[in-house]
Amino acid sequence: MIAINKKKIKVMADNLAESGTGRSLWKDARIRFMQNKAATVSLFILAAIVAFSFIGPYFAVWSYEKIDWNAMGSAAKVGMPSIESGHFFGTDDLGRDLYSRVIQGTQISLMVGFLGASVAVFVGTLYGATSGYLGGKTDQIMMRIVDILMSIPYMFVLILLLVVFGRSIGMLFIGIGLLSWLDMSRIVRGQTLNLKNKEFIEAAQVTGVSDFKIITRHIVPNLLGIVAVYATLLVPGIILAESFISFLGLGVQEPSTSWGALIKEGAGTIRYDTEWQLLFPLAFFVVSLFCFYFIGDGLRDALDPKDR
């Protein structure tokens, strides 16, 4: 009996010793993030909004471009939100189903936000890390280029691009993505300068690790905390920029739409008692932005526990 127990205990001890996987800093950060209620709730709401934009169309009665001739021109009387007519969020002025259009707008706005932020993160991180790590003249030249690009008014360039090359979602990506990596590269460069003199970088240099590997293996992973925080704050910034462009009428093209375009239409017709045309897209817009900011805040707290 005792012998068996001893065996069991030995097996347990071996298991314990074998299962020695450490808690990485990422895992620690995840645990801290989960303890932040506002951030966790925001993450769920945002996930729900994203899920809704994909699942929602299966419940739609009307497509986003089909015109309900009954409601056209009399949206205030016929086009109000109702389950019977199939217009869950009502219709817009032309009689198109707002439920489907909000879903479409959500997809476009979030896509612009996420893709634009990814471009900015990718380009900005590599550019900033390279500039900061190499230092000296290279750094000077690379950062002066950023200064010059930054001094050009961003909205003006974006509007010009859209006017000259035509309005398209692709152009919008390129315009926003190309310009929003500038801040990122500066932040990353600053952090890299900080990291560069750490002893583990020196250890890698003495060993003979190549510069490229040092940047990708030692510098970038240690920057990702800051990058993640900044990226979550960049997404709403880009969504706002796209909305502003759409509000000016230069963004996505009809019949496609985005939050900004929908808000613009809703705001234009508010005096005809069709407040739902403004409120539904606006609610999605505001809630999503709040979520992004809370998540960014939560990430910042989770990733540098020392700074709290």
Partner: protein, 328 residues
């Protein structure tokens, strides 16, 4: 130079440009002499202890040898090749054989990598084709060698104590079976009992793997314990170089004498009667070093000649070199 000499440093000079606030862009930057005319030979299996106060160029010397800071003149001859004349890819071949251990154990490990990845990095860098199972085996072997349990490979640096982190740093330095390890104050950040463990570990490994060490420290009792030769630096200049026992029993330079008199002896009755030589004043600025002998501003024996003529660094007795006009 004997046939066992593996490293020869000749007249190594390292200067840094410093510009002070308010300088115009065209103002010529001042030169800070961090390392000035340092020469020594190192034989296989020896340990060279480098001592001196903060800011005297110990770490710069170490970094200049491995080309982490550019040297202005001089030679670093490693098995007949002048490292300073090599280009980056030629230098990479020699980096396998020269490794470094750093002062801050935790800061010298990448916090985002686990221990296995950290220790294997030199191996993966120089022998990228090594099969994964061999890498794992070598990591385990080297971890056992430095006294770490090999089931800790998946843990992260922040989960270890300072002494363990330093062992990880040593394991990383050992995995390529180097010939020379430069230890830049490897024990200064550890507490005394751990210091002894790490120093003894280094000595055991040295014997087992026939390592040559350059050991930088400011704690003289540890340097004495580990070194066969000791070099004393002051303001980037060598002031004394001798065998370890010799320098302790018979220090020739007034600076060395003062340093050795300051080592506490763990016996109150001896400690009470010991004559302490105090050095007054501060370290002069290395941007504007004193004329003649660099130590003269704080030296009790200084005479007029010390300000005029720089004392030559010369052998005064068997293998005992000193730079002083009035050495004992």
């Amino acid at each position: 130079m004997s046939e066992h000499t593996i490293l020869q440093v000749q007249n190594l000079k390292v200067n840094f440009d410093v510009s002070s606030e308010g300088d115009m862009p065209w103002t010529k930057a001042k030169k800070l002499q961090a390392v000035n005319n340092v020469s020594f030979n190192l034989n296989s299996g020896e340990t060279l202890g480098v001592v001196g106060e903060s800011g005297c160029g110990k770490s710069t010397l170490a970094r200049a040898i491995v080309k982490m800071v550019p040297a202005d003149s001089g030679k670093v001859i490693w098995f007949g090749n002048d490292l300073l004349a090599l280009n980056k890819s030629e230098m990479r071949q020699h980096r396998k054989q020269i490794q470094m251990i750093f002062q801050d154990p935790l800061a010298s490990l990448n916090p985002r990598m686990n221990i296995g990845e950290i220790i294997a990095e030199p191996l993966r860098t120089h022998y990228p084709k090594t099969p994964e199972s061999d890498v794992k085996q070598r990591v385990k072997d080297v971890m056992n060698k430095v006294g770490l349990l090999d089931n800790l490979v998946n843990r992260y640096p922040h989960e270890f104590s300072g002494g363990q982190c330093q062992r990880i740093g040593i394991a990383r330095a050992l995995i390529l079976k180097p010939k020379l390890i430069i230890c830049d104050e490897p024990v200064s950040a550890l507490d005394v009992s751990i210091q002894a463990q790490v120093v003894n570990l280094l000595m055991d490994l040295q014997e087992e793997m026939e390592l040559t060490l350059i050991f930088i420290a400011h704690d003289l009792s540890i340097v004495k314990h580990i070194s066969t030769k000791i070099m004393v630096l002051y303001l980037g200049n060598m002031v004394e170089l001798a065998n370890s026992d010799d320098i302790y029993t018979n220090p020739r330079h007034p600076y060395t004498q003062a340093l050795i008199s300051a080592v506490p002896i763990p016996d109150p009755s001896i400690e009470k009667n010991k004559k302490l030589i105090l050095i007054e004043g501060d370290l002069p600025s290395p941007v504007d070093p004193p004329s003649g002998c660099v130590f003269r501003t704080r030296c009790q024996k200084a005479q007029d000649i010390c300000a005029i003529e720089k004392p030559e660094f010369k052998e005064v007795s068997n293998n005992h070199e000193v730079a002083c006009h009035f050495h004992d």
